[in-house]
Symmetry: C2
Subunit: 167 residues, 2 copies
DNA sequence: CTAAACTTTCAAAAAATATTGAAAGTTTTA
DNA sequence: TAAAACTTTCAATATTTTTTGAAAGTTTAG
């Protein structure tokens, strides 16, 4: 297989994966090309490689920087900005997990906390509502601490947990 | 807080959470109302509670059934179909995790396997490509077995792993 | 069998999301 | 300081995704 073909497959698949996880396809694809680029790329190079406009490139690069997984690099003698991706996959996963927890899980936990104050009543509706939301809240907190653990953990320790014997 | 208000908050938040994870908002909201419903609901009841059309309700209910997290229930003496959600949150999470692994992670692992056959070369481009894709593949396999473990594990054992001391 | 009750499908419309490109803004060089 | 080099913004446009509703399909009761 030629590099060009492999690159294309990788970029496409990464974009599709991103899409199904609610991430803009262009954003995922920019990250893909930065991942496999041996050198930081300029906005022009990104635009050209993905056939996207300057505005699109700019906005999505910024979003990636906000996620903390792409960094601006200054090259001496060059005026334009260059960009590089975090290349350590473990670190990448940690950043994404931490960020998504903060943006998506935490607000839900806050909401569950809120709704637990629903007026007590003997109605089946209220009982069921409380029961379910409480169980989700409990699960959510466990998931949150697992993510916190993941964010701080050493890779080998973390994955090792699952391949060792019970007890 | 009144039940109506709490319900509304819960349904909205569940829909938003779904959206940010690439799941149709209506689909997530249908699941939300089924979760907190003490009894199975009919298509009519779902349409009314969420203000959505019959076609929309029908398609998204089917999608939820395909995910294995909503079930059709037959009520004796009733001609129409009723639906109920899996109420055990741990089981729900397992189903979703298993399904998403199958739909999203597995294809990426397959692609990575494919592109690892890229023609060898001493070019920096090929070297970097191989290095990164190999590291993603390695990580992906570890994530896959962790998910498989999660899918089979007992809840208390699984979460317990993270709260116990290292070593 | 047949008509009522109910479910499914899908083309068209609406809504949401992503993309463009050019103007405005900023920084650097000479 | 002027203008070239580069970046950012955002209204308009294009694309994708979701939703609708009515027609077609299916099942059940009588």
């Amino acid at each position: 297989m030629k590099l060009e073909e492999a690159r294309e497959q990788f970029i496409q698949a990464w974009g599709t994966l991103g899409s199904s996880w609610g991430i803009n396809k262009a954003m995922a694809q920019i990250q893909a090309i930065l991942l496999i680029a041996p050198e930081p790329l300029s906005t022009e190079e990104i635009m050209e490689q993905l056939n996207i406009s300057r505005g699109n490139a700019n906005m999505n690069i910024r979003a990636l920087i906000d996620w903390g997984i792409v960094h601006k690099v200054y090259k001496t003698g060059e005026r334009k900005d260059f960009f590089t991706s975090e290349k350590d996959i473990w670190e990448l996963a940690r950043r994404v997990a931490t960020e998504r927890k903060r943006r998506e899980l935490d607000p839900v936990l806050k909401m569950l906390q809120q709704v637990s104050k629903v007026d007590d009543s003997s109605s089946r509706e209220v009982k069921e509502f409380k029961k379910i939301t409480a169980s989700i809240e409990k699960f959510g907190h466990k998931a949150a601490s697992t993510l916190d653990m993941f964010a701080k953990a050493d890779q080998h320790w973390f994955f090792g947990l699952f391949t060792r014997k019970k007890r």
